[in-house]
Amino acid sequence: MFIAEKVGKEWTMDQAPQYAIDHVANSKKNIFEFDFLNSLSAKISNFFGISSESLFYIDLGISKHVFLLFFVSFIVVSTIVTLIQGYISHKKNIPNKFMSIIEMFVIYLRDDVLKNFIGVKEYRSWAPLVYTIFFFVLFGNVLGLIPIFDLTGLIGKIGYNAEMLGKDNILYLLSKGGHTVTANVNVTFAIATITFVAFIAAGIQKYGFVQHWKNLAPSGLPWPLYFVVVPIEFMGLFIRPLALTLRLAGNMMGGHIALIIFITFIFSATAELGGLAGFGIAPFSISLALGLTMLELLVAVIQAYVFALLTAVFIGMAIHVDH
């Protein structure tokens, strides 16, 4: 009742959408401020002629999502390197539970994706990229589902006084908002950029610079058609990474927003109809959220797989030009 009253005072129903968006969006402030990063940001932005008020100001400060990126990459690198090094240095060669999951993904991706789309001969040079994309995205997605930083929010809310904590406190800044790095379009766009560079590099490596760009359109068409085909193919080139970006970010964002909206049913019912209604709707809300979390777990794996698969497919398309 205490929490219900407290929430009821603060909450109004029309806050729900904004609350959900805040949960998924990056923090508006940097949670760690470093002077050298601020001066570096200013220097780089000045070099490109971007003013500090501009939307495109390159702020290298550690925002919440950047912090989470470090967190995710630390987990990915430490987990995978430890497991794999432990596995291959052992003479018995029996993978443990986690290693056999990783091995299953690695072998599946190698045999069904890499060898299929990139080719038995060429796959080795692109395999690390595809594997890294898969596991990086997978860990980002799954870690986003674990509400690690919501606990810091709980500490902030219950353990301390919100006023005492202050709006600039790290715990407060960490607590509010979603924690799925892969729901941030900037992050997914960065990974998509790497895919973009990779499949262009693959084509140039195979055919040379000029021939690669000639491969863009099939040869032997009647010449007026080139005026149509070349722009379409050229646009397709840039649409591919954009589609990758929005697919992953959209999937992650949508799932988390839906999750939060289901939870806010409890607060809205409490605020509009009183504490008892909040308790009444809670089982319904929680079971919906639980089911959605299960679904999100599935989506997390599928989206990581799709990103890795499409990267392999695009690289394969650049290497095997047979329209």
């Binding site: 968006i21 805040d22 998924v24 969006a25 990056n26 508006k28 940001s41 939307l55 495109f56 100001y57 390159i58 702020d59 290298l60 400060g61 925002s63 999502h65 950047v66 990126l69 470090f70 990459s73 990915v76 690198v77 995978i80 390197v81 794999i84 090094q85 596995y87 291959i88 060669n93 091995e103 690695v106 072998i107 190698r110 080795r124 395999a127 690390p128 990229l129 594997y131 890294t132 596991f135 990086f136 941030n184 379009v185 900037n186 992050v187 766009f189 960065a190 990974i191 950029t193 790497i194 964002m253």
Partner: protein, 168 residues
């Protein structure tokens, strides 16, 4: 601007840097060693499968050969046994025949010896009879030479002896 689609170039740059670092580290310490390891293991498995296959065919070949050898040995053994039986029978028959011949020889020899002995004995008996009759005759003669009966007796005795001699 919608906060979900705001360009944050800082985050973008950080993402690139962090992802490239992760890629570099994992490529060096995870993916390449793991792929090498898996390839090696698969090669090992393929090789041992091949070896097992060849060992299996070898084993079958050896089995066939050993069966062949066994069969030959059996055949040979049978032949040897049959041969030796035949030979043993032959030699037994020969020994038996020899023995029979020898025993016949002995028998003939004995018969002829007996015959000779018999003749000699008869001869001796005859001589004895002559001696005896002479002795008898002298004795009779000393008693009554004049008696006719005696003469008759002597004559008949002598004739009897003659008949005996003729008989034998």
């Amino acid at each position: 601007m919608n906060p979900l689609l705001t360009p944050e170039l800082g985050t973008y740059v950080w993402s690139l840097v962090i992802f490239m670092t992760v890629l570099f580290v994992l490529r060096k310490y995870a993916w390449n060693p793991l792929l090498d390891f898996l390839e090696e293991r698969e090669k090992d498995i393929a090789e041992s499968l091949k070896m097992a296959e060849s060992a299996k065919t070898d084993l079958e070949q050896i089995k066939d050969e050993s069966e062949k050898i066994l069969n030959e040995a059996k055949k040979e053994g049978k032949a040897i046994v049959g041969d030796s039986k035949l030979r043993a029978e032959e030699s037994a028959a020969k020994i038996l025949n020899d023995a029979k011949a020898k025993s016949n020889e002995f028998l003939d020899d004995a018969k002829s010896k007996i015959e000779i002995e018999k003749k000699r004995a008869i001869k001796e008996i005859k001589e004895e009879v002559v001696d005896l009759s002479l002795e008898l005759a002298t004795k009779v003669l000393q008693r009554n030479v004049k008696d006719d009966d005696n003469n008759k007796f002597i004559k008949s005795s002598l004739e009897a002896v003659k008949v005996d001699e003729a008989k034998s």
